[in-house]
Every structure is written in structure tokens, then in C-alpha cells.
């Protein structure tokens, strides 16, 4: 019965989330104290409830509102993943914002709006809906970066982020209008047939240029080289909890909507965008890892590292096929869980011991907090992709898809950049573990740590579980890939 609700009424999850967000905004405006707990409780419960609702829902395809909005298997699965990870990310945001003296409750709601926007983008069947959803998600992020109003650097980073984001949005809109102008439609399913039929038609070359603009706009948001320039500044200057949010949720949204765009409207012109992604992924793997090698600042290093990792991920779609797409899905799940755990630990360390700007500020923490410290090491090794760690398995699925297509050059570049990235992650470990400064650092602030610690351990256990019992995850990713490839 519950399953049919979603099919009969359009956009239930988005409605529920936005209504509850708006109501909590009103309540928050009038009631001053202790309102965050109520808000976060409702939002997280709502997200969990929606996950179950989506899990139960009938997954066949259904169009709403003259085909602007679509209920489809890929979107449902993507939303389940998005909501469950957002629940964790929002909870982390909630528990850490207080520690950074960012006490306005609105930030949680703005972050929720980012999730809602992504969810709209994931279930769109028209460039307009898609654009509105994606913009909503990104506008919230620009605000979030400037959350700490007293921090000049943060405001500067927000302005940079906004400017570059606006450029990318402009590019994307221009591309969409080109596509509309040359094809006469903006519906994804119509475009699918259009591009499938008139692939080599010279008259429609403008549509292909438009496609390039749209994809490049998405690459700005991901970000991958050479469109990554905002990332290091934003990561460095924004408050850490905000960074935790913007390295996970927007990335998931962008990756899923990228997969959706590539397979639904642009499927017919595979040959055109494939080489774009091959180039971008190689460039960002090499550039990202080499730049990260030179960074002194920890967060800048992670920014470049994430550029390199996103380049790694893009190899999956570039290779195409069931394996390529499902490997990208698996990679983004592992990656964002890893990021969540690692950044939460970083925040705990920063708030318990001392501010962490440079990599060498990490030294001495391991001695003071061995258990969480070793967990941090495991997360770092996981980023580096050293075998028994979860990150290795995420990488292996992508590499497998590359090797299946006999793209050996890409494979060799990918593994060499993995070695380089191991070098800078080892550099983190060098200061974190190997430095023998028996510097006893005192705790200066205590968070509501038990819940957060449990959450971090929980995240790690999920990661290990996905490694030891990968069947469900593989099945999910495979079914998602199949559902968008053969619709």
C-alpha cells in the first residue's frame, strides 16, 4: 500500500522534506532556545522514514506534471543512498556546529534544502527541473561556506565559490539553451531518442556543443581538474563541519545526476563525451595528486586529493557499460562514508586538542588519543587505497571496469597516481603516527562526544561490512546501472 502512495502522488519525499524544513524555520524564528535538537530530530527521522518509504516503493517508471518529474528505479535508489548519507552528515553538522560557535539553527535547514535540491535534480526529467534542483542545492552551499560570519577568509572563500559557481551555472544554462535550440526539446526521454537517432547529423552539432557545456558545468561542481580551482580555498577557509558537509552530499548529488544525464539524454552520443571524461579524469588524477603532494595545509591537501579521487571515479562513466557505472556508484558510496568518518575525527581532534591547519599540527594527537587516532589512521589508509582497507575495494571495482575495456594506459596512470596519493597520505601518517613528540596535549573542549564517536565507529563498521559482505551493495549498484542503461 505504502508503495503505491509514491506512485499516485508526485514528489512525496521532496514535499515532506521541504514542508518540514519550512515549518521548522517558522518554529525556530519564534522559539529561541534548544530548538536545534527538535529540528535535527525531525529532519533525521524524516530522512530515515523516507528511506524506508522509498525502499518499499514500487520501482516502475512513472511521469508526473507533464513529464517534468519522474519516478524511476535509479532515482529511487539514488535517493535512498542520498538520504541515508545525509542523515549521517546532518547529524555530524548538528553536533559540531555548536563547537564552532555557529549557533544559528538556520544552517541545518539550509543544509537540508541542499539535500532537497539534490533530490529534485535526481528525479527530474527536464532540464528546467534539473537546473532548479541543482541550483537550489548549490546556492545553499554558497551560504553554508560563509556560515562563520566573523571569519574573513570564510567570506572570501564563499565569494570565490559563488563566483565560480555562477560561471559554471551560466555555462550549464547556455548549454541547455543550445540543446533546446538545436533539438526543440528539453525533456530527457525525448532527448534520449533524439540523440540516439541523429548522432552524426551535422545540423545538430550545436546540441553536442551544448552537451559539452552542460557536462563542464557539472564538472565545476564535482570538482575535477581543470575546473577545481575553488575547492582548495573553500576547503581551507570554511568551518570544518561545513567542509564535512560539502565534501560528501553535493558530491553524491553531482555524481548521481551526472550518471543520470550521461545515460538518459546523452546516451546516444557516448562517443563524444567519452573522450572528454577520459581526458578530464586523467588530468585530474595527475594534477590532483601532484598538487596534493606539495601541500602543507591539511585541508588543501584533502581538496587536491579529492580532485584526484573524483578523477578516479570518472574513469567508471568514461569506460561506460554496466561495470563502469556501477563501479562509480560503489566508489562514491565508499568515498563519502570515508570522508564523513575522517572529517568527523578531524573535528573531534581539532576541538579536543588544538587547531589543525598544517599537516604537522597533527603530531602528538595519536599519543593523547590512541583509539580514535588508530581509527583515523585506518581512514587515511583507506583513502590511500591500501588493501585490507575499504577504499581499496572501491578502487578495485573502478580499475576492473577500466581493464575490462582494455584501457591499459588509463589503468597505468590510475595506479601510478594511486602510488603518488599513497605518498601524501603517508605524509599525514608520518606526522600523526611516526612523530615521537611526546607532546601531551590537554583537552580544551568536550563535545557531545560519545554519540559522535559511536557514529564514527558505526561508519567504519558499515564500511567494513560492505567489504566483507559486498553482495547487497554490488547488487544495488548493478541494478541501478542496469536500470539507467537499459531503460
Amino acid at each position: 500500500m505504502l508503495g503505491n502512495i509514491l506512485k499516485s502522488i508526485p514528489a512525496i519525499p521532496e514535499f515532506i522534506l521541504s514542508i518540514s524544513a519550512l515549518i521548522s524555520l517558522v518554529i525556530g524564528a519564534f522559539k529561541q532556545k534548544k530548538i536545534e535538537r527538535l529540528i535535527i530530530g525531525t529532519i533525521i527521522l524524516g530522512l530515515v522514514f523516507l528511506c524506508f518509504l522509498l525502499l518499499l516503493s514500487d520501482k516502475s517508471e512513472q511521469f508526473f506534471w507533464n513529464g517534468l518529474f519522474i519516478h524511476m528505479p535509479f532515482g529511487v535508489c539514488a535517493k535512498i543512498i542520498l538520504y541515508s548519507l545525509s542523515a549521517i552528515a546532518l547529524f555530524c553538522l548538528f553536533s559540531f556546529l555548536n563547537a564552532y560557535n555557529i549557533k544559528q539553527f538556520e544552517w541545518l535547514i539550509i543544509a537540508t534544502f541542499s539535500v532537497i535540491g539534490g533530490s529534485v535534480a535526481l528525479s527530474s526529467n527536464h532540464f528546467l527541473t534539473f537546473f532548479i534542483g541543482l541550483e537550489m542545492s548549490h546556492l545553499s552551499q554558497y551560504l553554508l561556506v560563509a556560515a562563520d560570519r566573523d571569519n574573513q577568509q570564510g567570506s572570501e572563500a564563499a565569494v570565490k565559490f559563488f563566483t565560480i559557481g555562477a560561471i559554471s551555472t551560466g555555462l550549464m544554462l547556455f548549454g541547455m539553451s543550445l540543446i533546446y535550440g538545436f533539438t526543440g526539446t528539453s525533456f530527457f526521454n525525448t532527448l534520449f531518442y533524439f540523440f540516439g537517432t541523429y548522432v552524426n547529423d551535422f545540423e545538430h552539432a550545436g546540441a553536442i556543443v551544448g552537451m559539452l557545456f552542460v557536462l563542464i558545468g557539472l564538472c565545476f561542481k564535482l570538482p575535477v581538474a581543470p575546473f577545481h580551482t575553488w575547492a582548495p580555498d573553500v576547503y581551507q577557509a570554511a568551518p570544518l563541519p561545513i567542509v564535512l558537509f560539502i565534501v560528501t552530499i553535493p558530491k553524491i548529488i553531482t555524481v548521481f545526476s551526472l550518471l543520470h544525464l550521461l545515460t538518459c539524454p546523452f546516451h546516444g552520443i557516448f562517443t563524444y563525451w567519452r573522450y572528454l571524461f577520459v581526458g578530464i579524469s586523467i588530468l585530474s588524477m595527475v594534477w590532483g595528486s601532484l598538487a596534493a603532494l606539495r601541500q602543507q595545509n591539511l585541508r588543501r591537501m584533502f581538496a587536491y586529493g579529492s580532485v584526484s579521487d573524483m578523477g578516479f571515479l570518472l574513469m567508471g562513466p568514461a569506460m561506460g557499460g554496466e561495470f563502469g557505472l556501477s563501479s562509480a556508484i560503489i566508489y562514491i558510496i565508499f568515498y563519502s562514508l570515508n570522508m564523513l568518518g575522517m572529517f568527523s575525527l578531524l573535528i573531534i581532534f581539532e576541538k579536543s586538542f588544538k587547531p589543525i591547519n598544517d599537516i604537522k599540527d597533527l603530531s602528538g594527537i595519536m599519543q593523547s588519543s590512541p583509539m580514535l587516532g588508530s581509527l583515523f589512521c585506518l581512514f587515511i589508509l583507506s583513502f590511500a587505497g591500501i588493501p585490507p582497507m575499504p577504499g581499496f575495494f572501491a578502487k578495485i571495482y573502478v580499475l576492473e571496469s577500466v581493464i575490462t575495456r582494455s584501457a591499459y594506459f588509463m589503468g597505468v596512470v590510475a595506479i601510478l597516481t594511486t602510488v603518488i596519493s599513497a605518498a601524501y597520505y603517508l605524509n599525514v601518517l608520518r606526522f600523526f603516527v611516526l612523530s615521537q613528540s611526546a607532546l601531551k596535549i590537554n583537552r580544551i573542549y568536550s563535545l557531545r562526544k560519545y554519540i559522535v564517536k559511536t557514529l564514527v565507529v558505526f561508519v567504519f563498521i558499515i564500511l567494513c561490512g560492505m567489504v566483507i559482505f559486498p553482495f547487497k551493495l554490488l547488487e544495488l549498484a548493478r541494478s541501478m546501472a542496469v536500470s539507467i542503461l537499459f531503460q
Binding site: S374, E400, G411, V412, I415, A422, V433
Partner: protein, 513 residues
Amino acid sequence: MNIPILSLMILLPFLAGFVCTLVRKENSENAKRIAGFVSCINSILAGGLWFYFDSYNPGFQFSEKYLWIKSTCIDFELGIDGISLFFVILSVWLSTLMIFGTWYSVKDRLREYTISCLALQAFMVGSFAATNLFVFYIFFEAVLIPMFLIIGIWGGENRIYATIKFFLYTLFGSVFMLLAILKLYTEAQTLSFIELQDFHISPHLQTLLFLGFMVSFAIKIPMWPVHTWLPDAHVEAPAGGSVLLAGVLLKMGGYGMIRFCLTLFPDASTLFAPYISVLSVIAIVWASLIALAQTDIKKLIAYSSIAHMGIVTLGIFAFKPNALIGSIIQMISHGLVSSALFFGIGMLYDRFHTRDINLYGGLIKIMPGFSIMFIIFSFASIGLPFTSGFVGEILVLIDSFSVRPFITAFACSGMVLGAVYMLNLVNKVFYGKLSAKLGLDSRLDINDYKLHLRLRPFESAVLVVLTISIITLGICTNPIMTPIRRTVSQYYTSHTNVKPIQVDNKIRLQYAR
């Protein structure tokens, strides 16, 4: 016998490591005791493995299989045959000895040290017992993590440089193996070693895959042009780290060559064998010459390890059954001998805080028992008859001589050099006048020194065990020879396309005339 003994041997150290994390910082001695106890149990299990091993069955025994990644047919498979049996035993026994041998020397962050040791033990057993290439790769790489920590935290002065070099060097090699494994998987749709044995790979592809695997193993073992990480790692590592590095980690390279390169890519191995033999001989002579010039004892032993591993690769790529058996025995013996030497050096370093050969002298007067055992180890390292070093070396050299006489002659010159540097070491450290530079208290007389410097119980126990096993292995080799021979000869009958290479026909003909 349906006990999953191999997975038990992997899981036990992990569980013990987990228990160690619960030990409080104040009582970190307890972690050491837990580790010692569990390692003893594991050693007994390893002994049981040997006892129940059917020497006349050339296939995999104690096999286990657990479904893992179902849709891709990558399963968690374990099993041992005559080749891997002794490597499993060696790694368990040596890591047990390592825990007892460094019982007194590690004091800083003891808990983390024991956890690393236990993890290392589990990963080593796993990598030798894995019969699935993917599982093997995971364990093979995982070994790097605890070793990275052991060298990096408890190492010498330049430890961070050494450990990062070690890690990146080996990682660089093994990612190529990863690509090769993935390619193999896309070709054969399975990574189970037993199924892969019957899978025919085209010669061209074999060449590529062989190179991928070989880069990784050559760095691990290490062969001549890529050996530079080893001296650094050895010199900076603590005694226990050096023991396992030389004793077990290097053997993973040789084991991998035998298990994967020879069996899966026979054509490519034949193709590359001459080049690899040349590289091994260069390694033997070059490393021995460098060892001659060393003043740091650890560096000397490290270079001698490279020379010994050169003999191993020479034997592996001679394509003769006896040479193969010889290289396996050489690896096991080197595992015992070099780790014994590193234990000895560690004990010397604990007492005198220097590794410079020139500062030592006349130790036999004040540490007679220790000196005698150390001298036995040195002789075993030279390859004197009645020590374990002799058996492997002679088997390799005899068979290799029949295939490549010219190259092997050079390898023999390496043996002479080996005698030179080892005897030089023994001479300078143990004989002559009691050195005044050691910082010994001049007020004490010799008996007081003996009391002061005597080996503590666990230390002497470890050294005695190693001495006994080295000599036993040199005198009666049969218990380990039989299982190895059975598996190796089975390998030679099933891979009939592996023949001695014809490069030396002319020379052979000359002899015939």
C-alpha cells in the same frame, strides 16, 4: 580433520591484537604476554600443520573456501601445498621468536608494537596460505602497514625516510601486479589458483602479465636494480622488524615467483629466464662487493641478504627440479640464518649502542656463548657444510651449472666473497683485543663483564632454538625435502613445456667433444 586450521591461524593473532587494544597503557606488559601466549598457540598449530601434512599428496591440503564476492567468483580460498607449508611455518615461528627475542628491548609504545607484530603475523600467514590471487594480493599488500609502523615508530634515526621509501617502493611494484591480476581476471573469469592452473594464456599476454607480477616480486625479493630500499629499511628497522623483513617478507617475492610466475606463465618465464639469471648474478657479485665495504653490521647483513636472494632467483629460473627445491630450501634457511644474525645484532646494539664494526673487538672473551652462536650463524650464512645454508646453495649451484655454466661460475665467485665479508665480520667483532671503544667500564674484570652482559633467558632461548634448527636443517634435510620434492616434481610433470633453455648448447657440445 575438519578444523579450519589455516583461517584459525590468521584469526587468532587478530583476536589477540584486538584484546591488546583493551589493555591499559599502564599495564602494557600484559599486551606482550598475550601476544607471546597466542603466538605460542599459533606455533603449535603450525607444528600440527606440519605433522598432519600428507607429504605424498602434491595438491593443496587443508583447503578452505568461503564465498565472498559472489557475483564475481572471487572467494576467500586458503590451502597449502609442499611449497607454501614451510613458509607458513617459518612466518609463524619467526614472528613468535620475534616477540620473545625483543621481549626486553622494546619499551616505548609497547602495546602498539605488539599489535603490529600480531597483525604482521596474521597477514604473513594469509599471504602464504592464500590460493586465490586476489586474497594473496590483499595480504601481500597488507603486510606493508604493520611493517611501515614497526620501522617508522621503533626504528633508528633516519627511520621516517626509510619506512616511507620502503612503503612506496613496494607499493609501486605491487600495483602493477594488481593490474595484471585484474587482466587475468577479465581473461579467465576466475582468480582461483587451482582453476587458473588449467587455464591457457596466450604467449603474448603471458609476457605482459609476467612482467606485471615480476616487477612486484623483484622489488620485494629484492633483485639487483631495485634493491635500494632494503639496506635503508634494514638499517633503520628495530631488531624485530629486521628479523621479519629479512626472514619472511623477502621470501614473499621468491614464493610469488615460484607460485605464480612459473606456474601461470611458463612460456614467459622461459623467455625471460636468461635476463633474470644475469640480473641475479649481478646481484650476487655486486651485493657481495658492497657488503665488503660496509662498516655497519646491519648494512652488511642486508647486502648479504640481497646476494642470497640472488642465488634464489638463479635457482628458480634454472628450470630444474633440484634447483627449485634448492631455492626453496635456501629461502627457508636464509629466513632462519638472517633473522638469527639480526637478533644477534639487536642484542649487541642493546648492550653497546653501536653497529660500527670497527668499534667492536674481542667479544668472545666477555660473551662466549653468544659469540659461539653468532659465529655458527655466520658460517651458515657463508654456506658451510652441516649448516642449512649449504644444502640450498649447493642444490641451486649444481643444477644451475648444468644449465648456465658461465653465469653460475660468476655466482660461485660471489660465494667466496661471502666468506670474505662474513669472516671479516667475525674476526673484527669477536676476536682480537677487547675493544676499548665499546664504552665498557674499565673497573670491572672479565667475570663481571660476563655477568653484566649475559643473555637474558628469552634472548638465549631464541638464539639456541635458531642454532639448533639451523644445524638440524643442515644435517637432516629430509623432513622438509620430501613434501617440497613431491610438489615440485608434480609441477614439472604437469608443465612439460618448461624445458631447460637451449642457450648453452654450444658449450655443452664443446664439453661433449
